[in-house]
Amino acid sequence: MSFLSDVYAGLFYFAAFVLVAGLTNKVIQYARTPAPLKIPTTPAPTTKTGVALRLTREVVFFESLFRGSKWTWIFGWMFHFGLFLVTLRHLRYFLEPVPMPIQLIQPFGIYGGIAMVIGLAGLWGRRFLVDRVRYITALSDHLILALLITIGLSGLMMRFVVHTDIMRVKQFFQGLYVGQVYTLPADPLLLLHLLLVAVLMIIFPYSKLLHAPGLFFSPSRNQVDNPREQRHLAPWARRLEQD
């Protein structure tokens, strides 16, 4: 088993590196690329505070999606909010001691896990049932849904059906912080769950999961509506004026 634990340790070091480096790289790329023109979708806020509120509404409530498609909104929001609760619940495996809010959130994390799987199933269903969505769906869209739903189901199975030795799992991840590899429980469900989470971390910066940082850099959502009051000029456009 120690060989397998070594493999998983290496996998998670690699996955964490790819996730952090890949996302940092992308965020730097987005931040460095100029937005030469003012293109907020109007009506748009006229102050920075207003823009912060607009983005908050998009991130927390999926405001635009709500206006666009109620079914997608219901399933999409269930999935994302469920995933958020699940992530909070999982922090207990990565923090020692476990902070009080994380202890309190534990039962909600389980509901979150269920909501997440139902949401994903709904989103997947649309890819078969709605002809327009079927048309735009690529193989990778199915695979990402399969990946997430398998992560969710394997997690729920470990909670409700086949338990694993969770203390040893925690020990394994605590060990990774200090470069020490403890043995993982040899439960197939756990190994599957962890493998897929590592895969998710690795594909994150190279797939449509980039929508997460993308939203914050979307000029139609993050720009202040003040072009008459303040001159907006990209560096490359400024050079045109010097010719």
């Binding site: 023109l37 206006r67 327009r132 769906t137 000029p219 072009p227 456009a237």
Partner: protein, 510 residues
């Protein structure tokens, strides 16, 4: 009813989301630009050798210069929220006219050449090379987008297909595949000063004719000045306003409003065009060159203020981009918005009670109002967000007794494009224009049936021309579309004007 060699969509009482019919609009593409028109804009005359490489180089260049393009090509999760929002999809049923379908034409090339996943596993992520067939799709479907931004309202990440259409057209122009309509027109602006190629003397003649008409109608000498140095206001308006119906009635209205305000104003023969088709072809350089004419005219004429006439995308370029492209405007009077929309100007006068408006003069019409897409979703009027919806409506309500809005789902920031914007207002694209107008005409038809609406007012030259042309395909009259300032012109009682009412009152008194 106008004759069509294609099927005109039927108008329904309740909007239907059509099932996808792949490829039904693949045959639609505009006439290609000729070498001479390309050269005027600094583009190669015909398809260059090695065009794939040059197109990809240009794409890489745009990706490094436009954050919108980079973020939008990365971020789409194919959620489907936009799929039933484009008027061209609703009218044609072609899935490549769904916003995401249109974006994917470029996204698949982006993935193949600019992302790791697409380089390693093209099939898996739907990545494709830029083949001749893909280029054909680009030319066809990026000219079935009016850059109206309706999709961007409903996208959870604000992905704006207009940005992608513009980039695609810019890339195609750089490999010698330009669109005749837009590129020929931009050349005319450079050479003559406006889209329609009206030279200065013809403009002067037209304006003189307008002065005579207004004098005959009202007995008041309203001036329509051209190239008058030292005037306070430079009016920049779409050249269609000089002679097309109902545009010219709007221009007559602007002149009357300026007259009543007691300000001096002038048009410019150098900048006798508000439209800026440089935006449609996604060319910052051309858009800037067109915009700079306005700066030159303002400096030469020594004006203090700039006011724009009724035009949708022109107002987008004016409101959102003019400060960027042709600013800073430190030589103008900073107490007024730079630039100002004619509706803002008129609304201000109404607020101050400076216009004597007789609403009953518009009693022969029951009005509705069409929010022009670029005004609605890419600009503002007044101090507050949403002023672009409220100010034109306030003007209409101040000038008419009978006004009803169309269905909420089809107005304000959810308004449907007229179907002719974004450089599609050309006869070689008539099928897509007629079909693309269907959602708007459907909503119009419903207020005609339910509220007895007779006319639809608009503040965009393209909308007015488009509806004049396409309404007859749906069994409506071409004169059912009117200018907002036409309503102002009708209702405005000029100082010193002899009105029929007063004549009658005088008769009765005697």
């Amino acid at each position: 009813m106008a004759k069509a060699d294609f099927e005109v969509p039927e108008l329904q009482q309740y909007p239907e989301i059509p099932a996808v019919e792949p490829g039904v609009m693949a045959h639609s593409s505009p006439f290609k630009s000729k070498p001479q028109f390309q050269a005027d804009l600094g583009f190669p005359g015909e398809l260059v050798d090695d065009w794939q490489k040059k197109a990809l180089d240009k794409m890489g260049d745009l990706l490094s210069r436009y954050r919108s393009l980079r973020v939008y090509l990365d971020s789409c999760v194919k959620c489907g929220s936009c799929t039933d929002k484009c008027h061209y999809y609703l009218g044609t049923h072609d899935p490549k006219n769904m916003p995401v379908g249109r974006q994917d034409l470029m996204r698949k090339v982006y993935r193949r050449h600019f992302t790791l996943a697409g380089r390693l596993f093209p099939k898996l992520v739907g990545a494709e090379d830029l083949t001749e067939e893909v280029l054909g799709d680009w030319y066809s479907y990026y000219h079935q987008c009016s850059q109206c931004r309706r999709c961007s309202v409903f996208c959870p990440y604000g992905i704006d297909t207009a940005e992608i259409s513009m980039a695609a057209r810019e890339i195609m122009d750089h490999i010698g595949v330009g669109q005749k309509y837009c590129n020929e027109i931009i050349g005319k602006v450079y050479k003559i000063g406006n889209n329609l190629g009206l030279p200065g003397p013809a403009l002067a003649d037209t304006l003189e004719g307008l002065e005579e008409d207004v004098f005959d109608d009202t007995g008041v000498e309203v001036k329509y000045p051209l190239d008058q140095e030292g005037a306070e206001i430079l009016l920049v308006t779409p050249s269609a306003d000089f002679f097309a119906e109902p545009h010219v009635d709007g221009l007559i209205g602007y002149g009357k409003v300026f007259h009543e305000a007691g300000v001096s104003w002038t048009l410019s023969s150098h900048a006798s065009e508000a439209a800026n088709f440089g935006m449609f072809i996604g060319s910052y350089e051309n858009m800037r060159r067109v915009a700079l004419r306005i700066r030159e005219a303002a400096i030469k004429l020594g004006v203090k203020r700039i006011v724009f006439g009724e035009c949708g995308h022109a107002w987008r370029v004016a409101y959102s981009f003019l400060n960027t492209l042709a600013g800073p405007w430190d030589f103008l009077d900073q107490r007024y918005p730079i630039p100002q929309h004619i509706c803002e100007f008129t609304y201000g006068l109404i607020q101050e009670g400076k216009l004597n408006l007789d609403k009953s003069r518009n009693d022969d019409m029951v009005l509705t109002y069409h929010d022009s897409c670029n005004v609605a979703r890419a600009s503002r009027m007044g101090d507050r967000p949403g002023g672009q919806f409220d100010i034109p409506r306030a003007i209409i309500r101040a000038t008419c007794n009978h006004f009803y809005d169309m269905d909420e789902e089809t107005i304000r920031d959810r308004t449907f494009c007229c179907g002719g914007g974004g450089g599609l207002l050309t006869d070689d694209l008539m099928e897509v224009r007629v079909k693309g107008a269907q959602p708007r005409v459907e909503a119009l038809n419903n207020v005609i049936q339910e509220k007895g609406v007779t006319h639809m007012a608009a503040i965009c030259a393209i909308c007015k021309s488009q509806f004049t042309k396409v309404l007859p395909y749906y069994g409506m009259d071409l004169d059912q579309i009117v200018s907002v300032h036409q309503l102002v012109s009708n209702a405005l009682v000029l100082t010193g004007e002899e009105t029929e009412d007063e004549d009658e009152a005088a008769d009765e008194a005697a």
